[in-house]
């Protein structure tokens, strides 16, 4: 089983979208590091001037730089993991880890809505599928949901095994998912490729797909 050219194009668009968002984030961390390195330079100059260094500024600047380096590393690690998903078309992956990766990749969009996002999934639950297509499908769903939810919402993803299927539901705590409507054409095309069905119900959006698909 190979993915269609159309699906590959959609996956490429998703990767481009994710890369754009992640590199924007990296520019933010570099900007913070740049300002704090500049502040250290300012403070060094003040020492030369014998005008005294405001207490706490040195420690604050160095701790912010270290924190932003850690943040950058996590962001790049996530993008790197996503990129390597395309290395092997069909693979068995841990579902909880995969969902958390996609939540992390869309973290900035959630932050724009001040949304809290959580994933509940049995830790040993796996899925055997075309991983990059599956991840692209979840990514598009998350981005679409962030576009329509209210500020300060709490989005919950729940995944569970249901016989031969995996069911992943998206719901907003305390309120129905607002005007989610139907999945986009791109989501529908990705879903079809991996045998998934998409359903928008009153209070949740559900993706159901085989826990294992044949990969010949």
């Amino acid at each position: 089983m190979t993915t269609s050219t159309h699906t590959q194009e959609i996956c490429l668009q998703v990767f481009a979208k994710a890369s754009a968002a992640i590199t924007h984030e990296i520019k933010n961390t570099l900007s913070i590091i740049n300002e704090n390195a500049g502040l250290l330079e300012d403070l060094a100059t003040m020492t030369d001037d014998d005008s005294g260094i405001p207490p706490g500024h040195l420690l604050s600047a160095t701790s912010i730089i270290m924190k932003q380096v850690v943040r950058s590393n996590v962001i790049m690690k996530n993008l790197n993991t996503f990129a390597h998903s395309a290395d092997i078309p069909f693979a068995t992956v841990n579902l909880e880890t995969t969902l958390r990766l996609l939540i992390a990749l869309t973290d900035r969009q959630a932050a724009m809505k001040k949304a809290a996002v959580s994933a509940t999934c049995p830790p040993d639950l796996t899925i055997h599928t075309h991983v990059f297509t599956f991840e692209s499908l979840i990514y598009l769903a998350l981005r679409r949901i962030y576009d329509v939810i209210a500020n300060q919402s709490t989005l919950e993803l729940e995944a569970a095994r249901d016989n031969a299927d995996i069911v992943i539901s998206f719901s907003v705590t305390g309120q129905p998912l607002p005007a989610l409507g139907n999945a986009s054409d791109d989501e529908a095309a990705l879903a079809q490729e991996i045998g998934a069905t998409l359903a928008g119900e009153q209070d949740r959006y559900i993706i159901r797909l085989p826990a294992a698909i044949r990969d010949e």
């Binding site: 570099l30 900007s31 913070i32 704090n36 500049g38 502040l39 912010i64 724009m112």
Partner: protein, 130 residues
């Protein structure tokens, strides 16, 4: 070339990256600018209502109200505030879009502080010239 008294220049930094905004504020304060900060579009508009700055350093991507929306809302009642867009976007398009909406100028992140200061002072002089 006229010089300006930086203590008279009220600068508001609106950016949801707090550690960026606070450090930039500190660096501008060390250079005698009268600097405050807001961490969202809504907070920026509230701060402007209370005490309008001369120059607004405005990030485009912020929670609640984004930078372009802030810019649009300033048009009616606070048209004299000079807005410098801060953009982390990979292209110039976002900044140029802001200038079409009336921004004075834009700078790309990471910021070159000396260049930014030139723009702040230029914006202030233009405001004073009316």
């Amino acid at each position: 070339m006229t010089t300006v008294n930086r203590e008279n220049i009220k600068v508001l930094i609106a950016d949801d990256e707090i550690e960026f905004a606070s450090t930039l504020a500190t660096r501008l304060q060390l250079r005698k600018f009268n600097t405050t900060m807001a961490e969202s579009g809504g907070a920026a508009l509230s701060a402007i209502e209370k005490s309008p700055p001369d120059v607004l350093l405005l990030d485009l991507k912020m929670p609640d109200i984004d930078g372009l929306e802030v810019l649009a809302r300033l048009k009616d009642d606070f048209a004299d505030i000079k807005v410098i867009i801060l953009t982390g976007h990979g292209s110039f398009e976002a900044g140029q879009e802001g200038m079409k909406l009336g921004a004075y100028d834009y700078v790309m992140k990471p910021v070159d502080l000396n260049r930014l200061i030139e723009k702040i002072e230029g914006a202030y002089k233009e405001k004073q010239a009316g």
